[in-house]
Amino acid sequence: MKRILAAIPLVLVIILGGFLLWGLNEDRDPNEIPSALIGREMPELVLKTIPGLSDGGLDPGVVSTHEIALVNVFASWCVPCRAEHGPLSQLAVDEDLPLYGLNYRDQADAAFEWLEELGNSYQGIGFDETGRAGIEWGISGVPETFILQNGVIVHRHLGPIVGETATRQFMDALNAVRGAS
C-alpha cells in the first residue's frame, strides 16, 4: 500500500507530461474541426460552372471516375486562396491529379476575372453562389481542399496549401491515401 502511494506523484507527473506533450505538439491545431464527411461519398449535388466558363461543373458522376481527385474550395474574395492558387495548381500537375474547384459564395464576374488573372487550372468548377453547396460539403471557411478517392472523401485540408508545413501535411495525407490504395 505504501509503495502504491509513493508511486502516485510519479504517475501524476507522467499523465500530466503526456497531456503537455500532446498539447504542445506544433502539428496539432486546436481550432481544427474534424470533417464529418471523411469516408463518405461526396455530396450528390451537381453544380454548374461559373457563368462564362465552359467546363462541365462539379459533378459527382465525373469526379468519382478518378481514382484520386482534388476538390479545392475557393473564392475570389479570399486572399489566402490567391496565394494558394499557383502552388496548388502546380502540385496537381506535378502529382498528375485532376483538380476540381468549388467556387464558394462568389459573384460570377469577380470569379471569372480572378481565373482570367491567375489562370484556370480546374478541370471543372462548381459555382456555389449561395453557399448552400459549401454547407453540404461541411466547410468552415475558404480555402479548403478535399482529397477524394473514387468519389469518396478521404481527407480534408483546412487553409491554404502554401509554405513548408502545410505542403508537407498535405503531401503526407496524399501519400497515405496512395499507400492505402
Binding site: 481550432n31 474541426i33 474534424p34 470533417s35 464529418a36 464527411l37 459564395r105 449561395t130 453557399g131 448552400r132 459549401g134 454547407i135 453540404e136 460539403w137 461541411g138 466547410i139 468552415s140 471557411g141
Partner: protein, 140 residues
C-alpha cells in the same frame, strides 16, 4: 437567452410565425459557428452563420422537428457544432469524465482522512501512578 443575442439575426431572416422563429432562435443558440468557434450562430455575423440560420428556418418551415434540424447539421459538421453534444460512445468520456475524477478525489480524500484519524492514547501504568500521586498531593 443572452441579452445581446438579437444583433446578428437580421430583420429579413426573421420568420412571420413567432413559434417557429423562437424554435429557430433556440436551435441557433446551441449551434456553434464554425468560423468563430466559441460563438453560437445566433450571435455571429459570419456569412456562413447567416447561411445556417436561414437554412434552419427553411427546414423548420418545411416541417422538420428540432431533432431533425440538429441531425441535418451534425450529419455535415459533426457533433462538434453542438454546444451540448449528444451522449454516445465517442462523447461518453466528455460527459462522465468529470464525475469519475470527482469520485476518485472523494475516495482519496475519504481514505486520507481516515488514515490521519489517530486513536486516543491510553496512559501507561507509570503515568497513571504519577497522575494519582499528583492528585493526592493537591488534595487538601
Amino acid at each position: 437567452m443572452m441579452a445581446g443575442a438579437a444583433f446578428a439575426v437580421e430583420p429579413d431572416e426573421i420568420l412571420d410565425d413567432p413559434v417557429l422563429e423562437q424554435r429557430a432562435r433556440d436551435i441557433s443558440a446551441n449551434v456553434r459557428c464554425v468560423v468563430c468557434q466559441n460563438e453560437p450562430i445566433d450571435t455571429s455575423n459570419a456569412g456562413i452563420a447567416r447561411d445556417l440560420r436561414i437554412l434552419i428556418r427553411e427546414r423548420l418551415v418545411a416541417g422538420d422537428t428540432n431533432a431533425e434540424v440538429y441531425d441535418f447539421l451534425v450529419d455535415r459538421y459533426g457533433a462538434y457544432v453542438l454546444f451540448k453534444p449528444p451522449v454516445n460512445t465517442t462523447t461518453l468520456a466528455l460527459w462522465i469524465g468529470p464525475f469519475v475524477i470527482l469520485g476518485i478525489a472523494a475516495v482519496a480524500t475519504f481514505l486520507g482522512l481516515r488514515r490521519t484519524k489517530t486513536k486516543p492514547e491510553t496512559l501507561s501504568a507509570e503515568e497513571e501512578a504519577a497522575l494519582a500521586a499528583l492528585r493526592k498531593a493537591s488534595d487538601p
